[in-house]
Amino acid sequence: MIDAEELRRRTRELLAAHPPAATDPLDFLKARFDAGLAWVHYPTGLGGLDVPRSLQVVVDAELEAAGAPDNDSRRNGIGLGMAAPTILKYGTEEQKQRYLRPLWIGEEVWCQLFSEPGAGSDLAALGTRAVREGDEWVVNGQKVWTSGAHNSRWAILIARTDPDVPKHAGITYFICDMTDPGVDVRPLRQITGEAEFNEVFLTDVRIPDSRRLGEVGDGWRVAQTTLNNERVAIGGMRLPREGGMIGPVAKTWRERPELRTHDLHQRLLKLWVESEVARFTAERLRQQLVAGQPGPEGAGMKLAFARLNQEISGLEVELRGEEGLLYDDWTMRRPELVDFVGRDAGYRYLRSKGNSIEGGTSEVLLNIVAERVLGLPAEPRTDKDVAWKDLAR
């Protein structure tokens, strides 16, 4: 039986055998993975010890106190948050052994090839084709909104393997090698001036059948695991008062009395109240999860934060008046990390416009709340029983 005390003991053993100050960071991370202390809720042999996820904090606290290197999880958010749980659930033993260790230690970064120009909210309508040739699949198509594609070794990919059946039934899930010569990554510049995202063109990309995740035609179901984990990753943080987007504007308000107007004051107070309430709601959701009573509130949190981020950053641009007419820098860059609160008000205003689009538009999330939480009737569907090739496009 592995309890908190035993985890602490094993963590100290790891630290004793591999003193962080005298060990190459990557070697330390490999040793940590092999000791089952990477993600303790994962199976033994795959970086974990089959113990509850809540015990991870015990390990993290010991390692942090000892100044051990970490795997800089923000660099590989898609790998850790989305690809790994999907591989764990649907991968073969060989796939789990091959991919999870380099993924966790950060040696191999992952990206996600899901959205397409013609398949946004209606992701299941995607048209990237994968055609079987012997032991390989030949993939052709175009993907978009791919964060980090230019830094990635691997991608999780969904593609159409059968156009003659309804759209949800003809999709298969693959692991795509981003170094394949048929993969062409082009930066997609966005309204902030930067290119966080890419377009990815796939031309005769060859994927061995051994890199298929799940059954042929079962890709939609496999993708649900990926997408559900995306929404888990978006909720669940614990913020102090003024810890979100309201923080910078409150600071500006306090430091710059000459900018204050009565109209802005009323709007600021209203948004301050809403931010504080959203923080309570996030905290209540977190307490429900800890108590083992997950509620449907998570679906609402993304909606709430998207609107608040947009309204608050919009207010801040206005508050700055003459300075609000300026912008810090339009230079085209490919940032490795995205910081919603970083840079100036103008950047925050423009970047937050994406908050109601990325990871499911607010309109689609409202449908999900209405149908799955409130039990209201679904939209009438005209696409359920139609072969993908016969759909309007």
């Binding site: 308000w253 004051h265 009323q266 107070l269 309430v277 309570f280 009573q293 609402g300 709430a304 409202l366």
Partner: protein, 357 residues
């Protein structure tokens, strides 16, 4: 940090109160009562206060109460709000009781806690915590003057009256004239209290007692508003699944689904804010800010929920027969009670240092 969940005991309390209200507080009866001579349901009050012992939740056991906290009171208020129950619970078991707790008047506290005596603080329902007090004149040892907008005064046995010497006086209801005012909220009626040489007993200083009472009222009112909003949302969702037009349930139209989903999100937020306020009142930590946040958020949500319920029920929602109007009137009156959202935002401007220009 703050515990924002409901404990098992709190859920059991909720279930017991809801059962009682299901049996004794149906909408048709509440509507009929609003047009009778007795707008308060004193039989229901007796069941809640005497039978279940809920009037004494905030009073320590040594003083004849249950020794519970604002967290349990909040759960009771959620259920009373959900039923728009015409009982003087908020006014007697919270507001008058908090004032007596501040004054330390054990004799009256014990009577209120037992539910045998109903108390009312003679301060206008619209007053925010910290607002200037309207006081009556103390002349030759008796009280003189007129106070308006006193919620549930018609049901009260004893009134707690601020006088111009800075004292808070306990005055027997039969020593004053209580004149009902035609009120927007039919289930929490207001009255004018006229004192014409009424004898009173000074029980303490008015300012701190009233401030404490109104702060608790503003914070716990958020739970009543949550009950009102939750009823409006639940009932509207239920109705729109049933109601058919254009050969389909009206609740299947996306324009309406999105409005209900937005409302759900507001109710989810209100629940967290109301729990935070109840917990802050119970613990005494960060109470002023948390109460002001909860009340600044709760009032517009409850009003929005009731207004959406009416619009989405459409024609039937406009009738006297359907109970929506009771909830709309309660929600709108609650948006003024114990300080408007704007008043609480102004208080926050000071509390969190976001000063006006």
């Amino acid at each position: 940090m703050t515990d924002l969940l409901y404990s098992e005991e709190e859920e059991a309390l909720r279930a017991a109160v809801r059962d009682l209200l299901t049996d004794h507080c149906d909408a048709a009866g509440v509507i009929a009562r609003t047009e009778s001579d007795a707008p308060h349901d004193l039989a229901l009050w007796k069941l809640l206060a005497d039978g279940m012992g809920l009037a004494g939740l905030l009073v320590p056991e040594a003083q004849g109460g249950q020794g519970a906290t604002h967290r349990e009171v909040a759960v009771v208020l959620e259920e009373l709000g959900r039923a728009v129950a015409p009982v003087p619970y908020l006014t007697s078991a919270v507001v008058a009781t908090e004032a007596l707790l501040a004054c330390g008047d054990e004799e009256l506290l014990g009577r209120l806690a037992a539910g045998r005596t109903i108390g009312a603080l003679a301060v206008g329902l619209h007053s925010a915590p910290g607002a200037a007090l309207k006081a009556v004149r103390l002349e030759n040892g008796t009280l003189h003057g007129e106070l308006t907008g006193i919620a549930d005064a018609a049901a009260a046995d004893v009134l707690l009256v601020p006088a111009d010497d800075g004292g808070l006086y306990a005055v027997a209801a039969d020593a004053v004239t209580v004149t009902p005012q035609t009120s927007l909220d039919l289930t929490r009626p207001l009255a004018t209290v006229t004192l014409d040489g009424a004898p009173g007993r000074r029980i303490g200083d008015a300012e701190p007692a009233v401030r404490r009472a109104l702060r608790a009222a503003a914070g716990l009112l958020a739970s009543e508003q949550l009950g009102v909003a939750d009823w409006a949302l639940t009932e509207t969702v239920r109705y729109l699944k049933e109601r058919k037009q254009f050969n389909r349930p009206v609740g299947g139209f996306q324009a309406l689904k999105h409005r209900l989903a937005q409302l759900w999100l507001e109710v989810v937020n209100l629940r967290a804010a109301a729990r935070a306020a109840a917990d802050a009142l119970a613990s005494g930590e960060d109470t002023d800010v948390t109460v002001a946040v909860a009340q600044a958020y709760a009032a517009p949500v409850a009003v929005h929920a009731a207004e959406e319920a009416l619009q989405l029920h459409a024609g039937i929602g406009m009738t006297w027969e359907h109970p929506i109007h009771l909830y709309l009137k309660r929600a709108k009156a609650d948006s003024i009670a114990y300080g408007t959202a704007g008043a609480h935002r102004e208080a926050l401007a000071e509390l969190v240092d976001l000063q006006a220009p």
